[in-house]
């Protein structure tokens, strides 16, 4: 019975084995078959999740209370699959990835997606840990996939930071287990025992546990790794890392925060999360101002975006959850627009921001599409990014009115102020592209596929500005049992 509900995960797990096997037979051959097969796997997974959407209406506990399927997690699983599918499309167009260990690349990608699926559904600390590790270990290897000096360094840094963070998280889990005597953190047993045994130790354990999630979503103060890792990784991997682990981390963080929010723990959760969100937004935006490397700049941008995503968790109201769901989808789309165009530019050896000078002339269409993505990320109309920020801030305001906590107001003001700051660096690339003269003349390579793909996504982003209710209406039907 449970297998019906976890069919997407079964597809992914079977897919991993299939890709490995095909990889054996097609050794030493440069072929797109692996990529297309992986794409088919993700499509099947998304297809099933949409087909079985009504299945997930009532939450189901499965596999001895290890995981729970519901529409909330199903939505994010779809997003993760879509992101992974786009990553595959990017990887297919990336020559350096096609040369070496092609089938393995897709194995790790599928493994990471499987890990994120399970992480989003987990209701048990064991599952959280093991699926987080599946996601992490796959990501460590993916981060080193450029097979050069920088890639190796980025991979090692990611690995060392990641393992230290997950060890800290695990220690927090072990203390939580000691206090509550159960690993099922959504169960009543867990919350009751937590309420009975209020102490500072709970706080310590919770912060240690959150550290692992914060690392996964690259939020302050666990964000330090991301710029270095992003700079060393190939473009499809960065695009993947900036979306899928982030969403998975925040989903499980939401569930965990919910468990703490219903108990009467001796300190203010909203305060802590709000400060983390503010720190992430501030640090990400301020540091990004200085960057001259497009990848690094996007790393800081993704740190700041984590902060905005966290606002949904800070409020923990149904309205804020809807805003969070909406924001995630728009963030995914805009982020992939940017990375797809950046990859196309990279192909024409445009890497640093000054080298974008005059690119608007040689790659007019691509530059316009990139501008659309960046504008959406910064949250200016007429893009869905504006609408999503509007939803998030509106829910924050509503939450402030409800609770009257001044920290929420500060978060709102800080967030608004930072959308201003973020403009300065998001518009840096278009500024160079359109208003500067080229440093050297370029021989444009064919980027029509990238143009098309990014254009489709930009159309989506613009569409959700005009008709956000198209998605919002669907999100309204989601049942929020966390």
């Amino acid at each position: 019975m449970g297998l019906y509900y976890t069919m997407p995960e079964l597809i992914l797990a079977g897919g991993i084995i299939l890709i490995v096997l095909i990889g054996f037979f097609l050794r030493n051959k440069t072929t797109n078959l692996h990529g297309l097969l992986t794409l088919a796997i993700f499509t099947a997974s998304v297809g099933y999740a949409i087909f079985a959407w009504s299945f997930y209406k009532t939450p189901m506990m499965l596999f001895g209370n290890m995981i729970r399927t519901d529409q909330f997690s199903a939505y994010f699983r779809i997003l993760a699959d879509v992101a992974a599918g786009l990553t595959v499309l990017m990887a297919l167009r990336n020559k350096s990835l096609a040369e070496k260990f092609n089938s393995e690349f897709y194995t790790f990608l599928t493994g990471a997606v499987l890990g994120s699926h399970l992480l989003m559904m987990s209701t048990n600390l064991v599952m959280v840990f093991i699926s987080l590790e599946l996601l992490s270990i796959s990501s460590y290897i993916l981060a080193g996939y450029s097979f050069n000096k920088k890639g190796a360094e980025g991979s090692l840094k990611y690995f060392l930071f990641g393992s230290a963070a997950s060890a800290i998280m695990l220690y927090g889990f072990s203390i939580l287990f000691g206090i509550t005597g159960t690993l099922e953190f959504t169960s009543e047993n867990f919350t009751n025992n937590l309420s009975v045994n209020q102490s500072m130790l709970v706080v310590v354990a919770a912060i240690m546990a959150f550290a692992g999630f914060l690392y996964k979503i690259a939020a302050a103060p666990m964000h330090v790794w991301s710029p270095d890792v992003y700079e060393g990784s190939p473009m499809p991997v960065i695009a993947f890392l900036s979306v899928v682990p982030k969403l998975a981390g925040i989903v499980v963080l939401t569930k965990m925060a919910m468990a703490f929010a219903v108990t009467t723990v001796p300190f203010d959760w909203q305060l802590v999360l709000a400060i983390i969100a503010m720190l992430s937004i501030g640090i990400g935006n301020l540091s990004a101002l200085w960057q001259n490397n497009a990848k690094r700049m996007m790393a800081y941008s993704s740190i700041a975006q984590s902060g905005f995503l966290l606002i949904g968790v800070v409020c923990l109201t149904p309205q804020s959850m809807q805003a969070f769901l909406f924001y995630s989808a728009l963030y995914l789309a805009a982020n992939y627009v940017v990375f797809i165009s950046l990859q196309a530019f990279e192909k024409n050896s445009i890497n640093s921001i000054p080298s974008f000078g005059g690119a608007g002339r040689s790659f007019l269409f691509l530059s316009i599409v990139l501008l659309g993505g960046l504008i959406s990320l910064s949250g200016i109309p007429p893009t869905g990014g504006f609408t999503s920020k509007l939803f998030v801030f509106a829910s924050l305001w509503a939450s402030y009115e409800q609770t009257g906590k001044s920290i929420l107001l500060w978060l709102l003001l800080f967030g608004l102020l930072n959308t201003v700051i973020s403009l300065f660096y998001y518009l840096k690339i278009p500024y160079y592209a359109f208003l500067k003269t080229p440093e050297s003349s370029l021989l444009p390579e064919n980027t029509s596929f990238e143009n098309f793909l990014a254009f489709l996504l930009v159309v989506g982003v613009l569409f959700f500005f005009i008709r956000p209710d198209f998605l919002m209406g669907w999100l309204n039907t989601i049942n929020f049992v966390l």
Partner: protein, 623 residues
């Protein structure tokens, strides 16, 4: 949306055509950029004609569709065509068309003319959007779009560092206002859904007003406007005189029902303070475009004051008349700049009135336009400015509380007094006096026609049949704008006194000064007889007969007061405002390099920072 009425189609066309123009301009390749300077004005001409048709034929019209919904609340996409917006679309599209036409001559040789016209089209589109939007979030969307296009237009000559800096300054100041505005919109919106709390309503409205303060260059955010004069002059005429800066005033007119009593007080005080400030500043500038910019600040202050006093129709009327005469002034100024800067071996700053003089004979058309529009700005009877200023004065005059009545009436009179002074000063030093330039040619016809049209639009006929009192054919647009006879007389007398004072002040001066030395002689040069007219001469001689000392002392007082205030303001602008801008930019950069300094590439140090961060966090929570 199946059966569109003709008016609805017209409305959609008026809104869309500028956008089409922008799109066409962007699509046309650089080689054929000359084509842009034909398509863009043509499309705008069609827009202007259609808006006139709409103005004369249409009923009040509301188009509404569900845009999206958040939870249970639905956000409509709603356009409203009422008396105010009908008038505004005419203003926007007409002035925009005139500016397009003028730009054909003025920007003829510019390299990036396609971008210029594209942005102009986008700007017009967003301005029309603001005018028509019947919903605050939609307004905000257009508002931001307008901010973006104005940023691009101010910084059109990006290679000039001053232009890039001005664009950034304008952007920054506007974003500060916009951040508050978004908060205000959210508050207002939530207020509408969940009960009416007067406190929150006031807060929300004041937050929106702060957005208006940014866009309409009110105190304390007015300092970007003079800097924005680095942009092309036609842009200044369109954005910084007729439309964009007026968008804030228009928004206040739209949300007028929401304004609470305390909010009105705040608005009125801000407005009158800005009006005074702008007027004093305008009197102390040498740059002809900056004088006009400060004058715009001052006039916008008057409109805001009118709204604060509850006379929104007076504000709209002044907005309407101001759009034309100020656009005319800017276009004339542009014509001067154009004529002078196309002269060979010209090394002087052509915008500095100290370097100008005696242009009357060389540029007769420009001179006439400048005189007519300037007189309208000064509020000389028989011109539109007199009537609209009169209605604002009447609003102050009709206030119920005697103290506020006196205070506001007096302050508005002082503002109009100063307006006359600086207008006259400008005309005196630019057109009269010694001829300094050798050979000049009047601007081409494409530039002359818009100027002349603006001058014609500055006559009283635009507003009313009766040249001295508002009544007649446009009255149905301004049901609340009324003028009392006493106010008219007071206003006229003030203008006359001011004219006399101006003549006395500036006639003997050979070059403009900021610290104006008063000359004792009240003799009137023969050369004024042909310029301002015999009336001035008559009143001037009459004034000579009046108590010299009273007038003398009064003028002394005015001059010294304004000199010291102006110095204070210049200091404030240079050190405080620029200082704040620079400091905040530096602070942001410094904070950025601080947060970045953790990224030394050393992974073990990273881990340490992360752990340290967690421990600090822990202490923060535990204590």
């Amino acid at each position: 949306m199946t059966n569109l009425t003709p008016s609805e189609i017209l409305l959609a066309l008026v809104l869309i055509l500028p956008l089409v123009s922008a799109g066409v301009s962007f699509i046309i390749p650089e080689r054929y950029s000359w084509a842009t300077s034909l398509t863009a004005p043509l499309l705008l001409l069609v827009t202007a004609i259609l808006s006139f048709v709409l103005f004369f034929t249409s009923e009040d019209l509301q188009v509404s569709a569900v845009w999206f919904s958040i939870g249970a609340t639905e956000i409509p996409f709603s356009l409203l065509l009422d008396a105010a917006s009908r008038l505004m679309i005419v203003v926007v599209s007409t002035v925009s068309f005139l500016v397009h036409l003028y730009s054909m001559g003025y920007m003829g040789y510019d390299q990036k003319i396609t971008r210029y016209f594209g942005m102009l089209g986008l700007f017009t589109f967003s301005m029309l959007g603001i005018v028509l939007a019947n919903q605050l979030i939609l307004t905000f969307v257009f508002w931001e779009l307008m901010g973006f296009s104005s940023y691009m237009l101010i910084g059109h000559w990006m290679e000039k560092p001053a232009a890039a800096r001005a664009a950034q300054k304008a952007f920054l100041f506007n974003r500060i206002g916009d951040a508050f505005m978004l908060i205000g919109i959210l508050i207002t919106w939530i207020q509408q859904t969940s009960g009416n709390d007067p406190f929150w309503q006031t807060t929300g409205v004041i937050c929106i007003f702060l957005g208006v303060v940014g866009k309409s260059a009110q105190l304390p955010l007015s300092f970007w406007l003079p800097d924005a004069m680095e942009g092309p002059t036609p842009v200044s005429a369109l954005l910084h005189a007729a439309t964009m800066v007026a968008a804030g005033v228009f928004l206040l007119i739209r949300i007028n029902p929401l304004l609470t009593e305390p909010a009105l007080t705040v608005i009125a005080i801000t407005g009158i303070a800005t009006a005074l400030f702008g007027a004093v500043c305008a009197l102390n500038q040498f740059d002809i475009k900056k004088i006009l910019a400060y004058s715009t600040v001052s006039q916008l202050g008057l409109m805001i004051t009118a709204i604060g006093l509850g006379a929104k129709d007076a504000a709209l009327l002044h907005l309407f008349t101001h759009a034309f005469f100020k656009a005319g002034l800017f276009l004339a100024a542009g014509s001067i700049i154009h004529a002078l800067s196309h002269q060979p071996n010209n090394t002087l700053d052509v915008q500095d009135i100290r370097n100008l003089g005696g242009l009357r004979k060389k540029l007769p058309v420009t001179f006439m336009v400048f005189c007519v529009t300037g007189a309208s700005l000064a509020g000389v009877p028989l011109l539109s400015g007199f009537l609209s200023k009169d209605s604002i004065l009447t609003a102050a005059w009709n206030l119920s509380h005697p103290t506020t009545q006196f205070l506001f009436t007096a302050l508005i009179l002082i503002v109009s007094f100063l307006t006359v002074l600086y207008t006259f000063r400008m005309i005196r030093f630019v057109f009269l006096g010694n001829e300094s330039q050798a050979t000049l040619h009047e601007s081409p016809w494409v530039m002359r026609i818009p100027m002349i049209l603006c001058a014609v639009a500055s006559s009283w006929l635009l507003v009313s049949l009766n040249p001295l009192h508002i009544s007649g054919w446009f009255i149905h647009s301004f049901p609340g704008a009324e003028a009392s006879a006493i106010a008219s007389i007071i206003s006229a007398v003030t203008v006359l006194i001011a004219l006399i004072a101006a003549v006395l002040l500036y006639s003997k001066q050979t070059s403009p000064k900021t610290i104006v030395m008063l000359q004792n002689g009240f003799g009137v040069d023969s050369f004024y007889q042909r310029t301002i007219g015999s009336a001035v001469l008559y009143f001037a001689s009459a004034a000579e007969a009046t108590d010299k000392k009273v007038l003398d002392g009064f003028l002394h007082f005015i001059v010294y007061a304004h000199v010291s205030i102006a110095h204070g303001i210049a200091w404030f602008d240079q050190y405080i405002i620029d200082g704040v801008v620079d400091t905040s930019a530096r602070l942001v950069k410094w904070a950025g390099s601080f947060t970045r300094s953790f990224q030394g590439g050393k992974i073990q140090l990273y881990i340490f920072w992360a752990v340290a961060g967690l421990i600090i966090f822990l202490f923060f929570v535990l204590i």
